[in-house]
Amino acid sequence: MEQTTTFGLWEAEPIGPFDSTARDEARRLLYEILSGLKDRHREILVLVVFEHQTVSEAAHALGLSLKAAERRLERAYAKFNQALRRYRAEDERRLR
């Protein structure tokens, strides 16, 4: 089967419709959770988790001390986990 090509330059990874839908759903959920966070939590999460910066680099970028950045990151992790658990619980309740 001919795979989808990107500009005819390289062939994309073989992704089935299920994988594609699951990825889209995961992205939607991720954006929803991130947009529900406070700005200060979202920005440090994005820098450390998605931009793969170290905590000290993120602290420098945000103008924070290392301690303050670590505290904020822990708080952001906790908020992210909490939001995800809440979303899963609502999802289960809806499916029941």
């Binding site: 390289w10 062939e11 994309a12 990825r23 959920l29 991720l30 988790v49 906790a78 986990n81 995800l84």
Partner: protein, 282 residues
């Protein structure tokens, strides 16, 4: 111990699942470069002109769209900028070529210089210009090519351009080498060539080394007199331990210095060279 908070395993899974596609494989990159190679071979000019043509056509079709207007404006500005930079580069090249080829400080006529500017500048001329010594930067650039080549080929002797400070440091380096080779007489002979020191630091170093050399040569009293001429801070000097080792002990204590062997005498008579410059002798 307090456990550090981190993302749950479910959160990590979610992030991994939502992550974008992996970067293209090596084979894909090779294929991409094969596709792009003809475009680059065609030249940057053709690449940069294509979008502007497309943009102008599209803009004429839908001129009401602000985006197209913006793109048209930027492409026009870029086109003018590129043309201006090209013209400036051509004029600068013409001026440079004319000033290099003209004899003397003859005023250059722009109309005459415009023609040779189109020809590529010969690389040897450029090399000669870079080899000219820094003092020539103040001189007028309008020199003939043979004059530049002659000036670049005639290099001043290194010792003439050295400052007195560098000379002093070189002599002190030789003295230090001689002292390490246990040749205090050679060190003293080299120190006598120093003359008037260029700075207080060099003078201080010369005194220290002379004291050490004198003591090593067995002339303890003279050495200690030189130590007495050092600054009062000599106790904390980095040479304090060496001075103590060379000239320590009671003033009347005589040190027996063996007569130099034939090899040492020969070494003392020849000019000193650093160890890394000496040829390996059997």
């Amino acid at each position: 111990m307090k456990r550090r908070a981190s993302l749950d395993i479910e959160a990590v899974r979610l992030i991994e699942q939502a992550s974008p596609e992996p970067p293209p494989s090596e084979e894909a990159c090779r294929r991409m470069s094969r596709h792009l190679a003809p475009l680059f071979a065609a030249g940057a000019g053709s690449l940069s002109l294509e979008p502007s043509v497309e943009v102008s056509e599209a803009a004429s079709r839908s001129s009401a769209t602000g985006l197209w207007r913006w793109q048209k404006l930027t492409s026009a500005v870029w086109g003018k900028l590129t043309l201006g930079m090209l013209t400036t580069a051509l004029m600068a090249g013409a001026f440079w070529l004319g000033s290099v080829t003209s004899q003397g400080a003859r005023p250059a006529a722009p109309a005459v210089l415009a023609a040779p500017a189109l020809a590529p500048a010969p690389p040897p001329v450029r090399l000669e210009l870079f080899r000219v010594e820094p003092e020539s930067a103040t001189e007028p650039v309008s020199r003939s090519r043979p004059a530049l080549a002659a000036r670049a080929s005639v290099a001043k002797p290194r010792s003439a351009t050295r400052s007195r400070h560098a000379d002093g440091l070189a002599i002190l380096g030789d003295v230090e080498l001689a002292l390490r080779r246990k040749e205090p007489r050679a060190a003293l002979a080299r120190l006598d060539e120093l003359g008037k020191p260029a700075s207080a630091q060099i003078e201080h170093l010369a005194r220290v080394l002379r004291a050490i050399a004198l003591c090593d040569a067995g002339r303890l009293d003279e050495g200690r007199r030189w130590i007495g001429r050092l600054s009062p801070e000599r106790e904390s000097s980095v040479f304090a331990a060496r001075l103590e080792a060379a000239c320590g002990g009671s003033p009347g204590e005589a040190r027996v210095v063996p007569e130099p062997t034939e090899r040492q005498a020969e070494a003392a008579s020849r000019p000193l060279t650093p160890p890394y410059k000496q040829s390996a002798s059997p």
